[in-house]
Amino acid sequence: DVKVTQSSRYLVKRTGEKVFLECVQDMDHENMFWYRQDPGLGLRLIYFSYDVKMKEKGDIPEGYSVSREKKERFSLILESASTNQTSMYLCASSFRPPSYNEQFFGPGTRLTVL
């Protein structure tokens, strides 16, 4: 069974803390994605990786960075968390190209920044 897992379902952090969100997929997908989901705004792409060590900015990359050292693992980093980064974060993966292939989503991490 196809799987995308995320390190935490719920996370509470303080303003200014460095936050790591991890995502692992077991489908040998080339592409991995990090989205942010807020009510009424749908899914907004933060960063996208099409290969190990390769990344591209999405629509809202400010305040975030990513790391992909292994094909199956994609990490999202909040260098200095702020309250406006309180949100649901979803990881996804797919085969290339993303325009033609379905994405498989993880269960999400609900992050609260106090």
Partner: protein, 112 residues
């Protein structure tokens, strides 16, 4: 720029039909549809490609009007299990190898 979905929300009785629309300001290469049930991850429904090809594995139909730059998802004889939020994702024609931009979602509630 995000595609625009309409309606934002709809309530149905079991057995009724619904149409969810997704409109873009750009010429499109493909449109993707996903459903997210409350508290769960989004799940793939269908991909519609320029030229008429479709990929999907559920009994839900959709159309893609390239000229109008829009897609519609048709939910017929709705069941309680259809409840959730539906998202369309679009890929513009000039960036066919690239990632999706998702709409804001349409919340569908099916009541007994």
């Amino acid at each position: 720029q995000q595609p625009v979905q309409s309606p934002q929300a709809v309530i149905l009785r079991e057995g009724e039909d619904a149409v969810i629309n997704c409109s873009s300001s750009k010429a499109l290469y493909s449109v993707h549809w996903y459903r997210q049930k409350h508290g769960e991850a989004p799940v793939f429904l269908m991909i519609l490609l320029k030229g008429g090809e479709q990929k999907g594995h559920e009994k839900i139909s959709a159309s893609f009007n390239e000229k109008k730059q829009q897609s519609s998802l048709y939910l017929t004889a709705s069941q309680l299990s259809y409840s959730g939020t539906y998202f369309c994702g679009t890929v513009p024609n000039n960036n066919a190898g690239n990632m999706l931009t998702f709409g804001g979602g349409t919340r569908l509630m099916v009541k007994p």
